[in-house]
Amino acid sequence: MIVVEELYKSFGPKEVLKGVNLEIKKGESMVIIGGSGSGKSVLLKHIIGLLRPDRGRVLIDNVDITGLNERQLYAVRRRFGMLFQGAALFDSLTVWENVAFALLRQKVASPDEARRIASEKLKMVGLKGVEDLMPSELSGGMKKRVGLARAIAHNPEIILYDEPTTGLDPIMADAINELIIQLQQKLNVTSVTITHDMTSAYKIADRIAMLYDGKIIQVGTPEEIKNTDNPVVKQFVTGSSMGPIKIEGVTA
């Protein structure tokens, strides 16, 4: 279980998170929605300990990870897999070396074994025969899938998705959504996704949380979010430029 408690984070004078509270249950698929620059990525990076908060706590199974030293933090991170927005594949390594990176680094598998696992995980995301390609030879959608294979290679309990469908065509986006649902069911993991793609959010979420002005303003099932009477959430999920959320330079 992941619990975020009263999380505050500023970058210079800019306050990004202003007291975020959120509970993510074991085995559920939580989707965090919010506008560009609302701090979704910052929140996600706190959950895996890439950023340290100014105040507040992040509890993973009742362990506060914000105060851990480096070695303890790496031990916690082995339970996580993360898919980055641009896939963040290591471009000096081949596809299979990318997927097997953690296995090879931690020496939990021999190179042959690691390669076999990499092929297996690539197959799970629907890729075959790409093991020896370089990341630069892949299309955007393929990169995301390789990134996903890398995220699940060490059998994590929690998978974090940073805008998994951004930058993909609608069909590829839907394929990624399907993959996320499949992995959720097959691997029985907890997933946390941040996105502003509402189609994707409705499809993959057990619950949706909306981040606005540095706080979580509503948490609910996709149905509850769809029929919300909170004007801010309503404006966001219906995708309207008119409403309480103001965009600089656009007069509604």
């Binding site: 890439l50 991170r77 290591f90 953690a102 680094r105």
Partner: protein, 256 residues
């Protein structure tokens, strides 16, 4: 604009940047001695910094040695001291030009590459990805470059010394017809081991400075493609300045 406030801001930004570089140095030094050791990556970086710099180093060294001989020969001729050319070339190359030119070339070649590669890895979240795969990015990325810089710069400086002296030989003996034997005699008679060794110490220091500064600039890149460009320029400029400035103080200290 208040000039005193500006000066203060400049001093604060300089000292805080210096502090961050030194912190990175401490972390890097600590990580060098903690397993797992990055042998494969270190070897790759040694090839990158060392072997691949050889062609440029070769051309720079041979022409520097040649022009040094040419200028000192024609200059010294005015007061009949042509016989000193060999000594001048040998001492200049080993004490000064070998390490400094090697440093400046590696800063432009390998330093720029390091900053650009690490900067790109930062802005495309590859460094964050390393963290999520429970890999310390300082250990994985910076330690190999640091070790490679410290080892390869002295090695390259030796090459520069030798090629430079040969370049001087070609001009003095080949072009101006000085005696072969006396060129080598005059090279060896006045060249001391400390000249070579102190030159190599300087080269090692430059290697560390280049790797550390370039990795620092790349590792903490912000702001997309433009940021990568700035980091790369910054790495080359700061490395070169550090080499030229520290060279004076190192020389004053080493060659007392």
């Amino acid at each position: 604009m208040n000039p005193i406030a500006e000066l203060g801001r400049l001093i604060i930004s300089f000292t805080s940047e210096l502090g961050r570089v030194l912190l990175l140095l401490c972390t890097t030094l600590k990580q060098i001695f903690l397993p797992p050791f990055e042998l494969k990556n270190t070897f790759k970086q040694m090839v990158e910094i060392g072997i691949k710099s050889l062609p440029v180093i070769f051309i720079t060294a041979v022409f520097t040695g040649m022009v040094l001989a040419l200028q000192s020969y024609t200059g010294f001729k005015r007061f009949g001291a042509e016989s000193l050319v060999a000594t001048v070339v040998a001492l200049s190359m080993t004490r000064e030009l070998g390490p400094v030119l090697t440093g400046l070339i590696v800063a432009g070649r390998a330093g720029a590459a390091m900053a650009a590669e690490l900067g790109t890895m930062r802005v495309t979240e590859q460094i964050d990805a390393l963290e999520t795969l429970a890999t310390n990015p300082i250990k994985y990325l910076i330690v190999p470059r640091f070790i490679a810089g410290a080892l390869m710069l002295p090695a390259l400086a030796i090459v520069t010394d030798i090629i430079g002296i040969l370049g001087g030989y070609v001009i003095t003996v080949g072009l101006f017809g000085a005696s072969n034997v006396s060129y080598w005699n005059r090279t060896w008679n006045f060249l001391e081991m400390t000249d070579i060794l102190n030159g190599l110490i300087k080269a090692c220091f430059f290697g560390i400075a280049i790797s550390l500064i370039s990795c620092y600039k790349g590792f903490y890149t912000q702001g997309g493609a433009e940021g990568v460009g700035k980091a790369t320029t910054g790495a080359v400029v700061l490395s070169s300045m550090t080499i030229l400035i520290s060279d004076y103080f190192l020389s004053a200290w080493l060659f007392k």
